[in-house]
Symmetry: C2
């Protein structure tokens, strides 16, 4: 089956909406595609998160979180026989001023190939379409360097990221 | 006019919804009321933000941001003759795991009275009702101490708040 046929056969599940003007584009080689479609298969996402060792979370909560995310960007490897989710990130936002990026993940088999940068650049591009100017995230120590490299800044003018956790 | 009459006379503009089970409660004395009603008067909010010297933002963008906020908490001073917005904060969230608090403001005439703490405690309480466990914010240097005092932590396990701004 041709790629476009493959992708569009579930048209109902993945329609272009006002947030997702461009919802899929081919990136580089290896049949990799970047998508801003908001319909993400939960089991596929679970497998991707498993691949990087994240603690499992209740599917119902994940479903609700995805529904309430402002933006999602996915990377798929698509062959005639298979469509595999290999990268993902999502964003909460007020759609106007502020956005926060969460759950950035690239499958280990595809890391160190610039896909993380592509994913993040697409997020910034989509948010800028909405004139959102404060794009934030919380970076684990091991990925701070990566985010710095793509233009994110730590503690600008002494602004500190702070957390409240239940005890 | 009695307070409840005053507040309920525009019932259409301030109804309880699934997020705002408790949408108003009296706090302390001085006719102060805490509300989680999502209908906020833009001009009132503008005046409050002016009072702390914030740069004005386009009303249309503010309206959209409020509509896309997951939670808003306001403090009003309500007399028989007047209802005045004197405190405000709002939250973006996926409604499930993560939330970020923005635009925390208390009118200078009412600062140093514990209202900021009341406002923040209410936000945490509301978010915990949804079992949201990662509650975040970005604090300017002069308010870091305040947020620490009410239980927020800077850079837990080396996690860094990072920003991307348009150049």
């Amino acid at each position: 089956m041709k790629f476009w046929k493959f992708f569009f056969k579930n048209k109902k599940k993945c329609q272009v909406n006002e947030i997702n003007k461009i919802f899929i584009q081919k990136i580089g080689k290896d049949n990799l595609y970047l998508s801003t479609c908001k319909k993400v298969n939960l089991e596929e996402l679970e497998r991707l998160c498993d691949s990087v060792g994240w603690v499992r979370r209740p599917l119902k909560k994940i479903k609700f979180a995805l529904e309430n995310s402002f933006l999602m960007v996915s990377i798929f490897q698509i062959t005639e026989a298979n469509k595999r989710l290999i990268g993902f990130a999502r964003v909460t936002s007020d759609g106007s001023f502020n956005a926060t990026i969460w759950d950035v993940v690239i499958h280990p088999d595809f890391q160190k190939n610039g896909l993380g940068k592509l994913l993040m650049n697409q997020i910034v591009k989509e948010l800028r379409k909405h004139d959102i100017s404060t794009i934030t995230l919380f970076a684990d120590p091991e990925v701070v360097k990566f985010y710095k490299h793509i233009g994110f800044i730590i503690d600008p003018d002494g602004v500190k990221g702070m957390f409240w956790y239940p005890i």
